[in-house]
């Protein structure tokens, strides 16, 4: 009897336990307009971050993941992606800085410039990259000025000879100040600063689209360099230069176009056996 009675509270307890129900969580309050806006913004920035990362723009990707994490702090995927973008930045900064310093030491200014710009795009506060770029620009500007000074001296001597005077005329603003034009980039281009020269030519042509004589001169210089490259067997560079020459000229030059086509064909033929392999 006692034994049977002893089981009773136990059974009661079991029944109670079985019937026990977890307390119901309070129903979530309807999401406010601000929360909806935040969710939509987070989705938008998430998408932007992925797009930036896909094209290798890790600085922008990291920025976008940062914004996503601000909006959704416990988004584990965003945290992982953010950390990955930061790691990619560190890695690429290291690689490009190394490449830029090597190029700079070897006097390859254009390559050094591009590498340092890549470093700064990822790490805008990188003092070493900024220093290299500043030094390259200082040297470049000094070269332009040196060439400008030589030309000014020649003009001055010619003017003295023509006027039979002992000194250049005292200067108010004169048309001479327009003569900055294309001499410096041409000299730099001829001296081997191909990319810098091309950039300056393009800027000049964009600024003076109707200066036919100057375009003719610039384009001829670039074309000549292209032919020189072709003769040295640098066909890809030759093609690039001749195409640039055609574009800078702004008018069709059948001979140049034919030359470019011939090089293109030769390059394609040279590649064909490799492709088959």
């Amino acid at each position: 009897m006692i034994r049977a009675f002893g089981w009773l509270p136990l059974c009661g307890l079991l029944v109670l336990a079985a019937c026990a129900e977890a307390p119901v969580q309070p129903a979530p309050a309807p999401r406010s307009a601000a929360a909806d806006a935040a969710a939509a913004a987070a989705a938008e920035h998430r998408q932007l971050a992925r797009r930036h990362a896909q094209v290798g723009d890790y600085a922008s990707a990291a920025r976008e993941w940062h914004i996503v994490l601000l909006l959704v702090p416990r988004d584990d995927e965003a945290r992982k992606e953010y950390d990955a973008a930061r790691a990619a930045i560190r890695e690429r900064v290291r690689e490009n800085l190394q490449a830029g310093l090597t190029a700079s030491r070897n006097g390859e200014t254009e390559r050094a410039t591009q590498a340092m710009l890549r470093v700064l795009a990822l790490d805008p506060e990188n003092a070493e990259a900024a220093k290299v770029l500043r030094e390259i620009d200082r040297q470049r500007a000094a070269r332009i000025q040196a060439s400008q000074a030589q030309r000014a001296a020649r003009e001055s001597q010619a003017s003295v000879a023509n006027a039979g005077r002992a000194a250049p005329a005292p200067a108010a603003a004169s048309e001479a100040s327009e003569s900055y034009d294309i001499e410096q980039p041409i000299e730099m281009f001829k001296a081997g600063d191909i990319n810098g020269g091309l950039r300056d030519f393009r800027a000049f042509v964009d600024a003076n689209p109707r200066n036919d004589a100057a375009r003719q001169r610039i384009a001829s210089v670039v074309y000549d360099r292209g032919i020189e490259s072709e003769q040295k067997g640098a066909h890809e560079q030759a093609l690039m230069l001749i195409e640039q020459a055609v574009s800078l000229r702004g008018k069709p030059v059948p001979e140049w176009t034919a030359r470019a086509q011939a090089i293109r064909k030769a390059l394609a033929e040279a590649r064909a056996p490799q492709d088959k392999r």
Binding site: W7, S32, E178
Partner: protein
Amino acid sequence: MKPMLPPLKRSPVSALVAFTWIAIALLVHGCATPPKAPETEPVVRADDGRLLARDDEYAIVVARSDDSAQSLAQQYLGDRRKSWWITDGNGGAEIRPGQVVVIPLVLRNRIGVYSDGFQTIPVLCYHRFGSRASKLTVTPAAFTEQMDYLARNGYHVLALKELGAFIAGREALPKKSVIITIDDGYRATYDIAFPILRKFGFPATVFLYTDFVGAGDALTYSQMKELIASGLVDIQPHSKTHSNLTLKLPDETDAKYRERLRREVDTPVDVIRDRLALASYAYAYPYGDVNELAVDYLSRKGLSLGLTVTPGGNGFFAYQYMLRRTMIFGNEDLEAFKAKLQTFVRTAGR
């Protein structure tokens, strides 16, 4: 095979104890609060009715109907003029009510270098203004058209001084920033250019060669004071006599050349200080020509910027004593003017 463990002794007491523990465990489990699901919903901190989130670098807000980039810049950045931080960071468009706006509270990228290229600041160089256009004379109509183009197309016309902070890496500048300079000190700067600049609220720097003052078509000091008082125009040195600093005169000894160079740098700085109470920080080289010796004199005189007439924009890394400046010619049309506004240079890629 022997069992590893001794068989359980099933006494009623031990069974009762076991059942009691099971019941307690079930009860505790039933009453327990379930763990929180991982948070994937946005955190909304609507403390001022629009702030969604904020840390040291960004504030994210939902714009209200009365918000603009200027009002948000005033509230979150403490300066309405920093509204471009907000517009540049949000696609450049106007702020719409309900839009989620990301406000950068600090600008880490002050140098304008991005994965696809870098920012450059063009410095435009004018000389004379007059009714008959020539290479160095721009008509009032053309100048108005050019300023109107800048105003309508989102260009920020900045004071030259701001360029110094940019190339030193101290201050970021808005995308599409442009600087206006006017060389020599012609009276037409006062008669023609200034009213147009004032209409648009655009600042400009006049580079004065001081021996010119007193000539018939030159600015007078009282006109220059009026220009300065407007808060839009700054006057800076452009030499004493406008002679080419890189040319040594026939029979000029090194010592005499150095002495002449020193005068060409020092005199206009001193005159501008004494007559106009202005400190000089920038120098435009006559004809845009300069050499290292002239740079040395500029530096000794405390000048921090030197401007040439090599065309193109200035990246943050531009050499401070050989800055590029693009001449604006009176015989060119608006298309040519537009082509000179180089504010971004695309690079080869990543």
